[in-house]
């Protein structure tokens, strides 16, 4: 095995073996959406920020099986870091994202050292506790964060010095789409890499992973840290687009909704996260506009519907249909 051989085969496998079709379709749809809904760019941008957040949850939960209800901790920390950086250091957006990623990763690393030792309910509770502690710290550090009033005074410079953030949200849209694509590509590489396979193995059977000599705990901390970086980018992006960070970046609801979106789309596949977020956000948006008082009924019914009828998420629907029509190619003879 020669060293030069690896990148070559990597590329070849990528082209031959990996269907990039869903990705191409999604990107095309995003571009079409831009022209189809020129008045809803702000909403589309927000959806993309959520997609990024849910993607990061997909890596952590969908791939590695780390059941967390505290993903907002990473998002919020990225948001505050990017916000503070913009206010006090530099208003350059791209550097801000890097700072957000670093902050998210740092918190994930530190908290992951504890969290990755836990499972089940204990892990859920620990992850919630981390988030609540972060929120209380942000609330107490009022001089720095603005407390409940929010961190204000974020004014962004043009992206790459060229594109100014505008009123209608065109720059915001393309900026968010670019960041989403870059992060998606990174996650794609990570999930296809040995560590990606490795954490899927941990999700399937941690005991077996130990038995093949894998340092399970270290792998989980690593993947959680990568997830933290992506969640941090999502938070940073939100902070830059909204130009304000509030304590609600640490809201429990955010973690819970991300979970719903992920399961809705289909956990363990990156495009599942994208589809789930899109469907949830659009249903939420329409339901909340049609009936701002009672849309929670619809969301509740939607959630129950997923659990009972499409447990594998929207991506599982084709298989479910095949099952119905009795033409399931996977079925055992």
């Amino acid at each position: 095995m020669s060293v030069q051989e690896i990148p070559l085969t990597t590329i070849r496998t990528r082209i031959r073996g990996v269907p990039l079709m869903p990705e191409a379709v999604m990107l095309a749809l995003a571009v079409i959406a831009y022209f189809l809904f020129p008045y809803d760019l702000a909403l589309l941008t927000r959806i993309m920020v959520m997609m990024l957040f849910v993607l990061s949850l997909d890596l952590v939960l969908g791939y590695a099986g780390i059941a967390t209800l505290g993903h907002a901790a990473l998002y919020g920390t990225g948001a505050y870091a990017a916000g503070l950086f913009a206010v006090h250091v530099s208003a350059d957006p791209v550097t801000g994202l890097v700072v957000g990623a670093a902050a998210g990763a740092a918190l994930a690393l530190v908290s992951g050292l504890l969290l990755m030792r836990a499972h089940g309910l204990t892990l859920l509770m620990l992850s919630i506790a981390v988030t609540l502690i972060c929120q209380e710290i942000a609330n107490k550090a009022r001089d720095l964060t603005g407390g409940a009033d929010g961190l204000r005074g974020i004014r962004m410079e043009p992206v790459l010095g060229l594109f100014k953030f505008d009123f209608v949200g065109r720059t915001g849209f393309w900026y968010a789409l670019a960041v989403l694509c870059v992060c998606y590509a990174v996650l794609k590489v990570v999930t296809l890499s040995p560590i990606g396979l490795s954490v899927r193995g941990i999700k399937d059977s941690a005991a077996r992973m130990v038995a093949i000599g894998s340092p399970v705990y270290r792998r989980l901390v690593t993947i959680y840290t990568i997830g933290g970086a992506v969640a941090g980018v999502a938070g940073a992006l939100a902070a830059q687009v909204t130009q304000l960070v509030s304590l609600e970046v640490y809201a429990f609801n955010l973690s819970a909704e991300a979970l719903i979106m992920l399961i809705l789309g289909g956990a363990g596949r990156l495009h599942g996260a994208i589809i789930g977020t899109l469907i949830f956000m659009v249903v939420h948006h329409i339901a909340a506009s049609v009936d701002p008082f009672n849309w929670l009924f619809i969301i509740g019914a939607l959630v129950l519907g997923i659990v009972f009828f499409v447990p594998a998420g929207m991506l599982g629907i084709p298989a479910a249909l095949r099952n119905l029509t009795g033409r399931n190619g996977d079925a055992r003879p």
Binding site: F35, P38, Y39, D40, L41, A42, L43, T45, R46, V49, E136, N139, K140, R142, G146, G147, A148, D149, G150, R152, F167, V168, G169, R170, A238, V241, T242, Q243, L244, V245, S246, L247, E248, A288, S289, P292, F293, W295, L296
Partner: protein, 388 residues
Amino acid sequence: MNNLVRAALAAAMATLCAGACWADTIKVGVIAEFSGPFAIYGKQYKEAIETYVAQHGSQSGGHDIEFIYKDVGGANPDLAKTLAQELLIRDRVNYLAGLTFTPNALALAPLIEQSETPTVIFNAATSAINKQSPYFLRTSYTLWQVSTPLADWAYDQGIHTVVTAVSDYGPGIDAENAFKAAFEKKGGKVIDTIRMPLATTDFTPFIQRVRSQAPNGVFAFLPGGPPTFGFTKSYNENGLAKEGIRFLGTAETEESNLQALGDAAIGLTTAFHYSEAHDSDVNAAFTKKLGELSAGAVANWASVGAYDGTHLIYKMVEAAGADGPKAIEAVKSLKWESPRGPVEMDPKTRTLIQNVYIRDVERDKDSGRLVNREKGVIATVGDLGWTD
């Protein structure tokens, strides 16, 4: 590609401008909470707006006025800004309104600055918001506005030592600072300042701490709903009133949750700008119509904020149609008789100059309901928290 973008933009901007220039229907976007833990606020706003419309018609200055409601679900600046963009760009609203929470209002500042959209804040009570954009108008109150007169009044009543107990978050700390500054200026002594975590469910420890210091009064500030409920219950159960420790509050006895407090609330003293029981014709007409339109509706600060905010919007539309800067100019010194009493817009802070009343909770003999009975006006002030 680039040409395509430009063409699309041109089309978008053209429709945008057309909407603004030709509208004979003036649209008002209301961003408020219609779901989640604060859904009551959105409900109060909507009922008050509908009451105003029922009383004054759906037209002003020859323009039809249409309200579009958007649910922001709580403090959520990301969503608030998205909704505002949607309202401004797609629905082409000419005015924005609502805004219960400070972060939501702050997130809109850069937007309304660019679109020159007058934005009427029904609640968000942090002084600094209005500094962020000249297009903000506020029909609620600020914490300084009610806390400072309360401190002065309390001292004059012979309450010379006070313990402050506030929820440990921005507004609570503002209230503590406002009260403390005014009270000490008068010569009073704040012997202890307690900050209670927002997540507190059992207030007994704090009440015991107040009790052990035997002050003349306790100044409290808590967010509406469960915390206020828990605090006033504890205050009552632990016999502080009997020991002569007077309760001094602001929004704690607001009407939407007052009946839920029960007899525990009787005798609580608050300084505030609005009581449902305010004795005036305008208020009587308002509460009567409100009750007719929505059975069981109560009027509180949120209702009156929205009602006066709607009034302000009607006046702006009448004077300037859809012209934002002109509209602001037209109402920035406006005076009118509100259900809360006489009010006047302060051109500098764009917050109301209004009466602050001292009230006690009593059980109304006729209706059997708990009410905030006004005992007198203790000040007529604007936003005292404004700093240049």
